[in-house]
């Protein structure tokens, strides 16, 4: 390097400076508040902003509260709790502005606790598509809590819990002490059928290791292989790409394409898919080998909305094939594979 050239690392990493956001979801009574409360008491989590629907809901011990306003409360471990206002965009923007102006703590993580009945998809969509929020935040992880006692029934009776499980990056089973080992095994099996990519752990009284719940999303554009695999959750995928259970409404599968494809052809495929079956395209994530690009393009979508395209600095590891993880409602793998083939973006090749 001569003494006048630009320095290595002279550009900003598109991901590295963003504040991670975790979404804690789960059906009524599944123990979200207990989990959040436990998380906030950990020394590593001393600069978190928690967004809840009501300040009372979080059930913070009054001894922990240092300062409180109508909308926010400062805990004596340094964390901040705030009420979800009209919409999430407004609350997150407001938090960032107040942080920048020095009115609140320098929070370095946001945890959003959704209401039990909430569909997490709109919250995720907000985080991956709102252009202002994308400047400051990144979706790190969707954690779905599953109540061991009531989940087996709820997963049959209601559609919301199924979707909450299907969209999760991490599944946490609560109240497992109230059921037998056999029932627990069955529940884990059931969750694995619905979402084979999401690791499952059991938490008692909200106790769970922090590393399971944080730093799941991509944190920098020169991500290492293990970071990408952790985010994709695809490392344990069936090599043959078979859907795990064919009688399920929710299906999870991986498409692989060995040859690079054009970005136009790829987006055409996604456009057709979202136009025809957007609501059933629960979650898509993956890496795409785009012709002419050095690194893979990161793809992340929830139903009909996708994160703006983002290129990683380089391929993590030797595998340069396009890998797309689909979680769908009643869209079989073959349909999607056929669509990609028909559009002619790629020859399905080894992926078939």
């Amino acid at each position: 390097m001569t003494l006048t050239q630009t320095s290595p690392g002279s550009t900003r990493d598109a991901l590295a400076g963003l504040i991670p956001v975790s979404i804690i979801t789960g059906f009524l009574g599944s123990g979200k508040t207990t989990l959040v409360n436990r998380l906030l008491k950990r020394p590593e989590m001393n600069r978190v902003a928690v967004i809840v629907n009501e300040l009372g809901e979080i059930g913070i011990d009054n001894d922990l509260v240092e300062v409180s306003s109508e909308q926010m409360m400062l805990l004596n471990n340094g964390c901040l709790c705030c009420v979800l206002r009209g919409d999430l965009q407004e609350t997150l923007r407001d938090l960032f502005i107040k942080r920048r102006n020095g009115e609140i703590i320098d929070f370095d993580r946001v945890v959003i606790e959704t209401t039990g009945l909430a569909d997490p998809a709109p919250v995720m969509q907000t985080l991956i598509t709102d252009s202002l929020l994308l400047e400051q935040y990144r979706l790190d992880c969707v954690v779905t809590l599953v109540d061991a006692v009531n989940a087996p029934g709820q997963l049959v009776q209601f559609t919301e819990p199924v979707k909450q499980v299907a969209l999760a990056d991490r599944l946490v089973i609560t109240k497992s002490d109230l059921i037998g080992e056999k029932q627990l095994k069955e529940l884990i099996g059931r969750l694995h059928e619905l979402n084979p990519n999401a690791p499952v752990k059991v938490a008692l009284n909200g106790e769970i290791e922090l590393s399971f719940l944080v730093d799941v999303g991509l944190r920098r554009s020169d991500a290492r292989l293990e970071e990408v695999e952790r985010w994709l959750g695809a490392e344990k995928q069936d090599e043959h790409g078979h859907t795990h259970r064919h009688d399920e409404a929710v299906q999870t599968f991986v498409l692989r394409f060995e040859k690079p494809m054009s970005w136009t052809a790829f987006t055409q495929c996604l456009d057709v898919l979202t136009a025809l079956r957007g609501p059933d395209l629960l979650r898509v994530k993956g890496l795409v080998n785009v012709e002419g690009k050095t690194g893979p393009m990161v793809v992340q979508g929830v139903q009909h909305l996708f994160h703006p395209p983002l290129e990683l600095a380089r391929w993590p590891g030797p595998d340069r094939s396009t890998r797309l993880v689909f979680i769908t409602r009643d869209i079989p793998r073959q349909t999607v594979a056929d669509l990609f083939a028909a559009i002619g973006a790629v020859t399905a090749g080894k992926s078939a």
Binding site: V67, E70, K98, R99, R100, G102, E103, I105, D106
Partner: protein, 415 residues
Amino acid sequence: MAVEGSLRPGGGAAQLALNMKLIAHHELAGFGGVGEGINMQKTKDGRRILWMAHESAPKNFTAVDVTDPRNPKMVVQTDLPHNDVRSNSLDVVGDIMAVAYQTKKWGLKPAGMDLFDISKPEQPKLISHFDTSGPHSRGAHCVFFVDGEYVHLTSGSPDFEPTNPKDDQFYRIIDVRNPSKPTEVGRWWYPGTRKGDSAPPPPRHPKFDGGYRPHNTNVYPQKPDRAYIGYIDGGAWILDISDKSKPKPVGHLTYSPPYNGFTHTVLPLIERGYLIISDECVRDNGEDWPKLTWVVDARVESNLVPIATLPLPPADAFIKRGGRYGSHNLHENLPGPCSFRSETLIFGTFFNGGVRAFDLTNPLQPKEAGYFVPAAPKLAPKGSAQINDVWVDENRIVYAVDRFGGGLYTLETSF
């Protein structure tokens, strides 16, 4: 259950940070007021020495060994001969350091520039003094020295009588190829600022008369025929210096009034054809707000077009912290083995707004990448930190200095 208090422990003067982390703080032996000269020397024995010119007397300059940036160690601190002179500015090339001297009143000495041999950082050895004192001169405010051959100096001169006392300094090119005998080889001043000029004296700024003098006079080895000059109330200038004896204006941008003057640094992004131009906030409590940093399209030098300003937090939120709030110095992409150089990441200092970094990938929409605002230093005269200047090394370690007592803050970035 409303309770009195702040949702930020430490209240209004607390530290603020985004994507910048404090890894060391050095108070410079109680003389933590630093001006706007920072440069890093790589010594022959492999040490990395950060040189800093002080804002005001009694100290001249201080060197800190930052080979381990987490453990800075002071190497030397020198004194000025009296309290009516300040050094303020310095630059380092190899083992030679140039230091500016400006007096409080006209006619005083020492006024001008010193060249030091710093091959032994513990014992800087004076090579020569370039005297610019005179009846109408306060000496030199700023040096720009990056090629080992020429110092681009903002200074008065015994033979220069300004039309207005505030316009007493101008652009001087000093040949230092023989460092024992610095010699002027060229000069340029704003037309009308010297007695006897054919042009009339320029109009004074109606609200804040800062004067018509250069501040920074930047010249880069990649483009040795151009000087980029912030001319305080005279705006920004690009001079053709292919003939150093006859600098010729080729570009000029002025935006004050309606803005509040004090154009400070003109940093060219040479490969991309843009200029980053900072103004200096010179009044406390928001009196001269807005003091901005401009992004200017300079692809056609004769038609400089401002296209954006660096995004800053609202004045209301910072003015109340005390002291100045607004733009000042930039990291200047200097050549040299220890300097960070980027055409898209810009670092600037903003007094009580701290040190802030911006992403100019899209020059039409600069984005904030990070910031660090120290908590008010002990006994801070303004009640807040007043971050004055910044140097970024090639590993993107950020060195920011306080104008009064805070000293040196060493920061890591995570963007």
